[in-house]
Amino acid sequence: MNACLDNRQALQLRRLLEAGLPLVPRPYRRLAEQIGSREALVLEQVRQWQADGLFRRVGLVLKHRALGFRANAMLVLDVPDEQVDAVGRLLGQAAGVNLCYQRPRRLPQWRYNLFCMVHGREREQVLGLIEALLAAHGLSALPHQVLFSTRAFKQCGGRYAPPAEAAHG
């Protein structure tokens, strides 16, 4: 899979990409300089990763709070296991739902198995949207809770590549 760069360079490149593209006219040339390679090889590697499905998307990654989307709700539902696929697909397609994931229950502490993120400008608007959404799909009777976030301590991208020391060992 690493046809263009050696493994060490590929790992370095992944780590750099996790932190973001530099804001310079030739960002891939800058990255290539940092890993001791050439712009064309770096671009080729990035395109290959894109084609292989390593990325969900490549683009601007925003922070919703600063952009005015201050009401950030996590809707959690306790859906019977045999219905979770159908309900997940329904809510996943609904306008206003940004993410919809199934996760395991952790009984007795945590009973909810379906998670939806809903962003909006105002808390009341988001609550209204959620209740309307559940009502429209006949889901209001399902046990559910809405957890608003009230503070972001940290917001950045995932760091999947192992740290540099581990990469050699």
Binding site: E18, G20, V24, V46, G53, L62, F69, L99, A152, Q155
Partner: protein, 152 residues
């Protein structure tokens, strides 16, 4: 923060994808009918104003490594210290305070599940709090973008 017309167009056009070429900012500028220097200056402003986290790939969890959503029920008196300690891990992102008994929610990412398990053990040992470990089992929607159309 103030979002000018160019920022809005950049966000609407390029949060879901951007050109993968040697001069992406020039390509964006050509599409939007402005100068490359304006695009770069605008993105810099967005980043400084904390509206832009970064530019580049969002990794697919399942392909890139392992990840999980974690919740902790932190006593109010210890919240600041625990939240700060958790945020300091490079493997932690999206660390939020939420209105619930489980009040601290964050995502752990790492090269593999064993790495995540070790971190969870460290967190439990250091805080004395039992983390809820909630890895994704199924994604029904993963699009993280949102429209700025209704933002003012």
């Amino acid at each position: 923060m103030h979002i000018d017309a160019l920022s809005r167009r950049l966000i609407d056009c390029y949060q879901h994808g951007m050109p993968l070429c040697a001069e992406p900012y020039r390509a964006m500028a050509e599409t939007l009918g402005c100068a490359e220097s304006e695009v770069l200056a605008c993105l810099e402003r967005l980043q400084q104003g904390d509206g832009l986290s970064r530019i580049g790939p969002v990794f697919e969890h399942s392909r890139a490594g392992a990840s999980t959503l974690v919740a902790l029920a932190v006593p109010q008196a210890r919240l600041e210290r625990v939240a700060e300690w958790i945020s300091a891990f490079p493997e932690v992102n999206h660390n939020y305070l939420r209105e619930h008994r489980y009040n601290l929610w964050f995502v752990l990412t790492g090269p593999d599940r064993a790495h995540i398990d070790r971190l969870l053990a460290v967190i439990e040992a250091e805080t004395g709090l039992k983390p809820l470990d909630l890895p994704m089992q199924n994604a029904f929607r993963i699009d993280l973008g949102f429209p700025l159309g209704d933002a003012r």
